[in-house]
């Protein structure tokens, strides 16, 4: 036993703790504790008044017993007595006891509050802090009622000591979090914001937490904190590593305060004041730059503190979602971490990228890491990292990569940890539904889910596949055929029997023509599974059987025989018995017409929020479905199958079971995933070797701070090998546009911002705005590698006559782009007259000595110079008639490439640039728009009409303008968008 060196020792306490530690068994320990409790009880009850020291000692013993996990139901009164002692050490123990063993006895609380009140008024900073700590530790409503009004006063009083201010700030925070109504806002709030300027770093550190919480609830009242926070942050970020003395942590200046300031800023949109914003962007860039510098220390504490700030900076950049170059840099930085040697960083990079995936500026950039993420899913040794990888794949999924991601997730499912299987199943089901282009793929995917992880396929998932098959007649035959094949397997999951039973009952007729799946074969296949199934499944199968009698009269006799069997008619389960009796009677007494009416094919299900999505949200809490909720990113995918309408009813979505089969007894939920047993509790902890432990296991005496981590080898900065001279292509012969150029161009017809191009080396982002016949475009070139690009030169080329139609002024950019850096190029654009082909953007540079070149179409199309025009129905029709020459009209009838959603269509038409006119077209489903194309030489009036036909999944688009080529060109551009 070590000597109790500090403060005053309590011998009795130390002896007691030693006794407990020497107990050989749990029983012995309990016996010793009971003996002690009896002893303390008698002392407290005894006639002899206890002195302060004894009281303190016994209260401490009680505390120790409580902390061992035993219930303590007395001693509170003695602790309260200690509170009012003049001796600091007794008071301190009293407060500790009260803080740990909060008691709701109101008489006691009155006494405690009284003692606290005295200490707060004592003007003794040490006593005041003790009292404030106690309030903060308890944080109950009663305490709030008693002190919420006093603490703000202490916080902003000019004569309060720094340590008191710090405690008061956090004490108030705790009370405000627990009961905000009790904390009166007032004159103090303005002064609290100015604590951000306080000279004492500790005061600022404590105050920022309080201010952040207040900002969240009343953002407008605390707006002034933005500029103060920015300047504080700027001073820290730009300070040398030793400036802040004791607030520097392993060469990182004030990491805790920096992180808190960055979080405070996340309560607000980007600063409106340009100077403040500029200063902040500078800070953010400095942090990103510092990440590339070699570490100042090899200690993990150094890199952790530095990266904590970096991740918080990235969070703020993602929160702003308005600075494409910062977003891309953030994404590149995270990309580096994805392959970092430290598991922690890989984990956090995967986590951060999830949020980055939902930004339109960085979604494409995130997608480029798909292979790394898939690899993480396969190879990471830590389940929590694999979980993050699965989350990220889910977040980065879109139409372009859905098949790959779903198949990887299915493959992962075969070996996935039990704890996360259910969630993976839900995610696969959602992605398969959301991005299904052909429904046979969807059906295959869900059946695969059942095959691979049947136990984890919840009822929501298999209900959903039935709903979708019921609602889509193009997939019913395929579904029937596929389930029929799946049921051939000797051992198939009960969920497969349920899906198969339902689908064959509804659509078995579609495959009955094939002798291999004739009605009797279908029936005997299903019935062969019957006896192995649960009651709920058997009830479902009985319903299938009666449907078979209607679909296939030739099976009637066999099925009636089954229903008549004693095992059905006299089944102990009342549901099965009732079904057998009723179905048997129905099949005997009803005419074929009646039977056909009663057992008609199920009508389509009403479209509503996917119950699977609701389930995932419930499982993961709000924000879990963020990838799907984010309509901003991929509006066209909003309502495939009516699947994910943003209905708010996530919690109380009625279970679709009621509609499906009228099954009263819902099938039992999937077995809960097995939790890792307690058995292997200590299996692995012995095998690790930090701090060179002896194989017997470390003794508690071992010092904590012996170096635990092996020193990190400093990662050498990648240095550029001297590039071998290679012939650069001449400045004039630019290559043809890359094959995807047209597709990339199409993405920007209806929007102005986004990622134009990306490969392993380079990312090009676009931000543009147009007014009248003028436009300004910002191009952001991001170097995704760690190697500098040299001779970097992007140029804009006008093929053919374009020179006379469109003027584009470009500013030169630096010829070197550092690894991980981004440069910006500004383009001023003037539309001289109408034009058909976009200008070309040619980008050339040398990467590691090799010349690279790339030609893209610049996203400048004629519709960018649209001015929307509002007009009444009468005017519209008059003009429409005026433009009635055949060459003035262009029309296209085409098939929908995206789900037909009125809101999305509207958004696209507005993005295209025309005004949308309501109440013009007699058919409210149709869209009518008008606008003027502004060029320097002339103006072209345009009218358009879009008629969707939901049934046929077709559109008819009609354009009328005063110039023939413009009509045709606009028509072509716009038709690509739907």
């Amino acid at each position: 036993m070590p000597a109790v060196s500090k403060g005053d020792g309590m011998r009795g306490l130390a002896v007691f703790i030693s006794d407990i530690r020497n107990c050989k068994s749990k029983e012995a320990e309990i016996k010793r504790i009971n003996k002690e409790l009896a002893n303390i009880r008698s002392k407290f009850k005894g006639d002899k008044a206890l002195d302060g020291y004894s009281k303190k000692k016994y209260v401490c013993k009680l505390l120790f017993i409580f902390l061992l996990g035993h219930d303590i139901d007395f001693g509170h009164m003695e602790a309260v007595n200690l509170l009012s002692s003049n001796k600091y050490t007794e008071k301190q123990i009293g407060y500790l006891f009260i803080s740990v063993l909060v008691n709701s006895n109101s008489e006691l609380i009155r006494l405690i509050n009284n003692a606290i009140k005295n200490d707060l008024a004592s003007r003794n900073p040490t006593f005041m802090c003790l009292a404030l700590h106690c309030i903060a530790n308890v944080g109950s409503r009663e305490m709030g009622e008693a002190f919420a009004a006093d603490i703000p006063r202490i916080l902003v009083a000019g004569d309060s000591m720094d340590s008191v201010k710090q405690s008061a700030a956090l004490c108030l925070l705790r009370l405000y979090k627990a009961s905000p109504d009790l904390v009166p806002m007032g004159e103090w709030t303005a002064r609290v914001v100015h604590l951000l300027n306080d000279q004492h770093m500790g005061v600022v550190t404590a105050a920022v937490s309080l201010i952040t919480c207040l900002c969240k609830k009343n953002p407008d009242d605390f707006k002034t904190c933005i500029s103060l926070a920015v300047s504080r942050l700027s001073r820290i970020v730009s300070s040398a590593s030793t400036d802040l003395q004791d607030y520097t942590y392993y060469f990182v200046p004030a990491p805790w305060l920096s992180v808190k300031l960055l979080r405070l800023l996340q309560c607000y949109p980007p600063p409106e004041d340009a100077a403040v914003k500029g200063r902040l962007v500078e800070c953010l860039e400095t942090v990103l730059n510092k990440a590339q510098e070699p570490p100042k220390s090899k200690k993990v504490q150094h890199s952790n503190a530095k990266n904590a700030i970096l991740f918080e900076t990235i969070s703020l950049i993602i929160h702003y979602d308005s600075e494409p170059n910062l977003l891309v840099r953030a994404c590149n930085q995270l990309g580096q971490f994805l392959q970092h040697r430290e598991t922690n960083l890989r984990y956090l990079a995967l986590e951060s990228m999830c949020t980055l995936a939902s930004s339109e500026f960085s979604h494409e950039a995130v997608k480029t890491h798909i292979d790394t993420v898939i690899n993480a899913l396969k190879t990471e040794r830590d389940v929590s990292v694999r979980q993050r990888a699965a989350d990220l794949l889910y977040a980065m999924c879109d139409r372009s990569n859905a098949k790959q991601i779903v198949s990887e997730m299915l493959r992962y499912l075969e070996t996935a940890d039990y704890a996360i299987r259910e969630e993976i199943v839900l995610k696969v089901a959602i992605l398969a539904e959301k991005y299904a282009v052909d429904y046979s793929w969807y059906v295959d995917t869900i059946l695969n889910l059942i095959r691979i992880a049947g136990d984890y396929v919840s009822e929501e998932v298999w209900y959903r596949v039935l709903q979708i098959v019921t609602n889509r007649d193009d997939v019913q035959g395929y579904a029937a055929k596929t389930v029929f094949e799946a049921l051939q397997a000797p051992a198939c999951h009960e969920n497969m029997v349920k899906v198969g039973g339902y689908i064959l009952g509804e659509f078995g007729n579609l495959i009955a023509g094939d002798p291999r799946s004739s009605p009797p074969v279908q029936f005997s296949l299903l019935h062969s599974k019957f006896h192995l199934c649960s009651v709920a499944t058997r009830a479902l199968l009985l319903s299938t059987y009666i449907k078979f009698i209607n679909l296939f009269p030739e099976t009637k006799a066999t099925i009636q025989g089954v229903l008549r069997a004693g095992s059905q008619l006299r089944n102990a389960d009342v549901e099965l018995q009732q079904r057998a009796v009723e179905y048997l009677t129905l099949s005997s007494v009803a005419s074929t017409d009646v039977l056909a009416t009663v057992l008609e094919e199920m009508p389509p299900f009403p479209e509503r929020e996917s119950s699977i999505l609701a389930k995932l949200k419930r499982k993961k809490g709000p924000g879990a479905g963020s990838a799907l909720d984010d309509s901003r990113r991929d509006p066209s995918s909003n309502d495939i199958n009516g699947g994910v309408e943003p209905t708010p009813s996530t919690v109380s979505t009625p279970s679709p079971s009621a509609d499906l089969l009228g099954l009263r007894a819902a099938p039992p939920p999937a077995a809960p995933p097995a939790t890792s047993g307690a058995g292997n509790l200590l299996v692995d902890v012995f095998s690790d070797g930090p701090a060179a432990q002896p194989s017997l296991g470390p003794t508690p005496e071992e010092a904590f701070l012996s170096e635990l981590e092996p020193p990190a080898p400093e990662s050498p900065m990648a240095l550029l090998a001297d590039p071998a001279p290679a012939a650069d292509p001449g400045p004039d012969d630019i290559g043809p546009p890359i094959p995807e150029a047209d597709e990339l161009l199409n993405k920007f017809v209806c929007k102005n911002n986004g990622v134009l191009f990306e490969n392993q080396l380079l990312q090009i982002g676009v931000k543009s705005e147009f007014r009248q016949n003028l436009g300004r475009m910002y191009l952001f070139y991001g170097n995704k590698t760690s190697v500098q690009f040299q001779n970097f030169s992007p140029t804009v080329v006008h093929p053919g006559d374009l020179q006379t139609q469109l003027a584009v002024q470009t500013k030169r950019v630096a010829a070197q782009v550092d690894g991980g850096a981004q440069v910006q190029q500004v383009l001023n654009i003037e539309c001289l007259r109408d034009f058909l082909t976009p200008p070309l953007l040619s980008v050339r540079f040398r990467y590691g000595g090799a010349p690279q070149s790339l030609t893209l179409k610049l996203p400048v199309t004629i519709n960018k110079f649209f001015q929307p025009t509002e007009m009444a129905a009468q005017d519209f029709f008059q003009r429409w008639k005026q433009l009635s020459l055949p060459q003035q009209e262009a029309q296209k009838i085409f098939k929908a490439n995206h789900p037909m959603d009125a809101e999305v269509t509207k958004a696209k038409l507005l993005g295209f640039g025309s005004a949308l006119l309501d109440n013009v077209d007699p058919n409210p489903e149709n869209f009518v728009g008008a606008g003027i194309i502004q060029t320097k030489a002339l103006q072209v009036g345009c009218l358009l009409r879009l008629e969707p036909n939901a049934q046929a999944q077709m559109y008819r688009l009609t354009l009328r303008t005063s110039k023939e080529p413009v009509s045709r060109h606009l028509c072509e551009l716009l038709a690509q968008q739907f």
């Binding site: 301190q92 509790l681 005496e701 904590f704």
Partner: protein
């Protein structure tokens, strides 16, 4: 931060600090669950995990595990360094701290924690300032023990 737990490799709880109101029963359940989960993890695994709707940040120092539960938007890495700074504070105060120091002087471990973290937020990150506060208190109790009149005490406090 919502709570902090210190427990040994054998799963014995050495310190618990709760910054949210929970019943004793809930606290025990959470503790049991987390101790099991963390002890079952292999070394070299990452220091973070998702648990219910919280993030758990933990680290092992010799025979003791330090474990913090933080909310969704809080920063994992800085929490890891909160743990480290706390260990440093204990180390400085006890002088090469070990598990037994915390067992026998559990009240000191609580006092140090209260100076460093309050209401779940970092109050003071300077090692000097935190230890000054604690040592001042130690000094104070010796002073009181030797029955020095209060007036003198105030003088000592100023310095």
């Amino acid at each position: 931060m919502q709570f902090m737990l210190l427990f040994s490799r054998q799963g014995k709880l050495r310190l618990q600090k709760w910054y949210i109101s929970l019943s004793d029963k809930e606290k025990k359940k959470i503790t049991r669950e987390l101790v099991q989960t963390i002890l079952a993890r292999k070394p070299k695994m990452c220091n973070f995990l998702e648990w219910r709707d919280l993030k758990i940040v933990y680290k092992r120092y010799a025979s003791l595990y330090f474990c913090c539960a933080i909310e969704d938007q809080e920063n994992e890495l800085i929490t890891l360094e909160i743990i480290h700074r706390y260990v440093e504070l204990l180390d400085k105060y006890f002088g090469s701290v070990c598990e037994l120091d915390i067992i026998f002087n559990f009240e000191k471990a609580y006092f140090i924690l209260d100076e460093f973290l309050l209401g779940g937020e970092v109050q003071e990150t300077s090692k000097k300032n935190v230890l000054k506060a604690i040592e001042q208190a130690d000094l104070l109790q010796e002073v009181i023990n030797s029955n020095i009149p209060r007036t003198l005490l105030q003088v000592i406090l100023v310095y």
